[in-house]
């Protein structure tokens, strides 16, 4: 902290606020998820570029080992000669950047009876001071000493037995540690929490569902009420806000120029929208918060009264356009939104996938979707006992036009690079289903590709015109993130196992490498000693193989894995 102001651009072991805020510009480090808290995933590095990328070769590879593999969705962090990378089952490794040798490993002891909805993934850690901090599947935060891997502090965020979990990378904003929570359909209510990153002490907590009380905490940990989120019963009928959902399971981004942290919120509960008429704030939204107090400064709701599982957790990435600071979000629901980062006012919204059945567009005046009522699934509490309801075809499918895989933005090309998927789903009310030993009124659904030849497509999206400038199709659904560089390149991985580099302006494929298992994680890049490196984690898993449907045919030949690969130019 003392060194913070002077240490800008220096590489002491201690990570300061100034270093975190400068992460996107400092090419020697990757200190945060998103390669900078704004989440642009852009590096100005250009040693590896359209002319040289063909000479990219492996520098080293490291296996996460263990008997358990499953989805590896983690983004590595780079600092002080070390890589910090998390792996499935709440593991974290520190690796020597030069040799690829393991320095230390932390394996979190997971209790039996945790309930992660969508695989045992982790998306990465945060660096602060001498610590590396990450969230675990049993809803704890663990801070380890970067040098030794010893636990410095450990805090329980919530009760895993009640369905809470943590998979996102924590965020450092204005010197506080911001985290969300994951949770399935079990009455979990989303919230954002701030802690002192050095001690884990709770500073404030802000629920994301209208009606719940927020708190701040004094030195002794006593909770002091800081007012209710929104207005009780304004957009939720009766008691339904109590189990409102809106989990903040993907974490958030932070823009030092606006001073705001941006968190996406999950879909509302219960799944059946007919039981909760109203907008159901702040579910399926982007919520902008003051990191110091947790006050909600603005919100923009992408899918009011969601009926399709269109979780709004996707990242809000700030960027400059026409001299203004805006934010882009590629939502599950198939629309790409451009919103004023200072006040939440909608600037532009347009589809980034080919088929959308739930709304014909977004009204730029009101900011609200133009719903297509025929596209809304039926009410499972209506109809005769033991009868199957009529089927509705909805697109995108519940896994979304874009899921957890982060997009990238290049200030050089002024384009977003969005890993998108083209799929839909049949939804109908089952005659009867069962849950926890008892009868239930559930919906049946089957997820279907929309086209024969591809599901995934990496798309270059122009936020100004709403045009798709180019696309690179992929047979299997894309599930890993994108990165873009000053070398006019876009890097991304595929479930088929490839890390690929494309020309950022044309989408032309210039290089690919088979990593040995599916890539469902975002790449990073940094430079050390005059050499630019690229790294990506490989290991097939995540939600797709768990849900399948007709999509399973396109992915069931893929094998699991768990490793991190590092590349550099041959001869470097």
């Amino acid at each position: 902290m003392l060194l913070g102001a002077t240490a800008l651009g220096a590489h002491g072991a201690s990570v300061t606020n100034a270093m975190v805020d400068n992460d996107a510009k400092d090419t020697a480090d990757v200190l945060s998820f998103g390669m900078g808290t704004q989440g642009q995933r852009y590096s100005p590095l250009n040693q590896i570029n359209t002319a040289t990328v063909a000479r990219l070769v492996p520098a080293w590879s490291f296996s996460f080992g263990g008997e358990k593999q499953r989805g590896q969705e983690s983004q590595p962090l780079i600092h002080n000669g070390k890589m910090f990378v998390t792996a499935s089952y709440s593991r974290l490794f520190a690796i020597d950047l030069k040799t690829g040798n393991k320095l230390w490993k932390y394996e979190h002891r997971l209790p039996e009876g945790i309930m992660p909805c969508c695989d045992v993934v982790n998306r990465g850690a945060a660096l602060y001071d001498n610590l590396v901090i990450f969230g675990t599947l049993d809803a704890q935060l663990v801070a380890l000493d970067q040098e030794t891997g010893k636990v410095v502090w450990k805090e329980k965020v919530d009760d895993y037995a009640a369905g809470y979990s943590m998979t996102a990378a924590p965020l450092i904003a204005k010197g506080v540690l911001l985290t969300g929570v994951s949770g399935g359909e079990f009455g979990v209510v989303g919230r954002v929490e701030a802690r002192n990153p050095k001690t884990g002490d709770l500073l404030w907590s802000r629920p994301m569902v209208e009606g719940h009380m927020g708190h701040r905490y004094d030195k002794d940990g006593n909770a002091i009420e800081t007012g209710v989120t929104g207005t009780v019963n304004k957009t939720w009928p009766g008691d339904l806000w109590k189990t409102g959902g809106a989990s903040t399971w993907m974490g958030g981004t932070y823009d030092a120029s606006t001073g705001l942290a941006y968190f996406g919120t999950g879909n509302p509960a219960p799944w059946n929208s007919h039981l909760r008429p109203g907008d159901n704030l702040y579910s399926s939204s982007t919520v902008a918060l003051d990191p110091e107090t947790g006050a909600i400064k603005w919100h923009y709701q992408n899918t009011p009264n969601d009926a399709w599982d269109f979780d709004g957790a996707n990242e809000f990435v700030t960027f400059d356009m026409d001299g203004r600071r805006l934010g882009g979000k590629a939502d599950r629901n198939g629309f790409f939104y451009v919103v004023d980062a200072k006040n939440g006012k909608l600037e532009n919204a347009f589809p980034f996938v080919k088929k959308i059945t739930w709304a014909s567009g977004i009204d730029l005046k009101t900011g609200r979707p133009k719903f297509i009522e025929a596209g809304r699934p039926g009410d499972p509490t209506k109809g005769a006992e033991g009868k199957k309801g009529t089927s509705v075809f909805a697109a995108p499918a519940f896994l979304g036009a874009k899921n957890q895989m982060p997009m990238a933005y290049s200030p050089q090309t002024k384009l977003f690079y969005v890993p998108a998927n083209e799929w839909g789903m049949e939804i109908w009310n089952e005659p009867i289903t069962y849950k926890k030993g008892g009868a239930f009124l559930g919906a049946g659904f089957t997820i279907k590709p929309l086209f024969d030849d591809y599901i995934g497509a990496l798309r270059a999206v122009d936020p100004k015109t709403g045009k798709i400038v180019w696309e690179a199709k992929n047979t299997a659904p894309l599930w890993g993130g994108a990165m873009t560089t000053g070398g006019n390149l876009v890097f991304y991985g595929t479930p088929e196992g490839y890390l690929k580099a494309l020309d950022a302006r044309t989408g032309k494929e210039l290089w690919k490498f088979q990593t040995g298992s599916g890539v469902v994680a975002p790449p990073v890049t940094w430079q050390e000693g005059g050499t630019q490196y690229v790294a990506v984690v490989s290991g097939w898993g995540g939600a797709v193989p768990l849900w399948g449907g007709e999509v399973a045919k396109k992915v069931n030949f893929l094998e699991q894995g768990g490793s991190v690969w590092v590349f550099k130019l041959a001869g470097k």
Partner: protein, 265 residues
């Protein structure tokens, strides 16, 4: 898998599995967590039944309480035929599995059998707060407790386009809703009959009523157990043990000890 290879391979495990269990000397039984009066903190009807079954089979009980998944297919996969990817399970047998044709058809890797109880949804009311009762119409303007994400919650919230919705009070479990009813904070609770009986223990101040919601299974649903498809020897022995528990009155007593009247399928 080709069926031919499958059938040949099945000849072996039928007894092998039972042999493994009897040599180990214990029966691993999966029960739901947080599911009073059946299984909650190592106590309840299903826990007592698990113990009685193990005893009849000459085995020790090895209880595996687990959290409910999104649906029964997940539970059967995690607890019966495959195991959870976190490394726990499967058990030898899972209790409280609905004996339902559609569920059997959707889960060809398990054998669902031995129904031991029939569950139905009932309304329990505070007779003082609601002295007269005339079906669903009487619920207008009333405070009614339900367990979140239960069939009771869904039918009540959906009834008549939501005309009862504002009176519905949502609780994490039915047991908590019933506690609130007894504390005077609710007019009624809609829950499973077993949950209600265990809480009110025949107290005449809390009468039970059947209610005919549009999509509520009128005759309830039978619950039994599930083993892996090829564990026929184990299934045979469990069925025989259950038959003995029924014939001796032991099953009835297990239910009665928790205030519940067993309903035989």
């Amino acid at each position: 898998m080709t069926m031919l290879v499958g059938l040949l391979a099945l000849a072996l495990p039928v007894r092998a599995e039972w042999q493994r269990i009897s040599e180990a000397g214990s029966l691993k039984v999966a029960v739901y967590e947080g599911f009073a009066p059946f299984s909650d903190h190592g106590k309840g009807i299903d826990v007592a039944l698990a113990r009685a079954l193990a005893t009849r089979l000459g085995l020790k009980l090895n209880l595996l309480p687990f959290p409910a998944g999104e649906n029964l297919n997940d539970d059967l996969r995690n607890m019966v035929w495959k195991g959870h990817y976190l490394g726990y399970g499967p058990a030898d047998v899972m209790l409280h599995v609905p004996v339902d044709r559609a569920l059997m058809a959707a889960n060809d890797k398990v054998e669902i059998f031995a129904p031991y109880h029939v569950e139905t949804v009932r309304l329990v009311r505070d007779a003082q707060a609601m002295p007269d009762f005339d079906g669903i119409a009487s619920l207008a303007g009333r405070r009614i407790g339900v367990e979140q994400i239960s069939i009771a919650a869904m039918v009540l919230l959906g009834e008549g386009g939501g005309r009862l919705r504002d009176g519905v009070r949502i609780f994490p479990t039915a047991a908590q809703a019933l506690e609130e009813l007894k504390a005077g904070g609710l007019d009624a609770v809609l829950a499973n009959r077993s949950e209600i009986e265990a809480a009110v223990r025949g107290d005449p101040r809390y009468p039970l009523e059947p209610l005919a919601f549009e999509r509520l299974p009128r005759n309830g649903w039978a619950i039994g157990m599930a083993v892996r498809k090829d564990d026929t020897e184990l299934a045979r022995r469990l069925q025989a043990a259950l038959n003995e528990l029924v014939a001796s009155g032991e099953l009835r007593d297990i239910f009665a000890a928790h205030g519940v009247t067993v309903a035989r399928p």
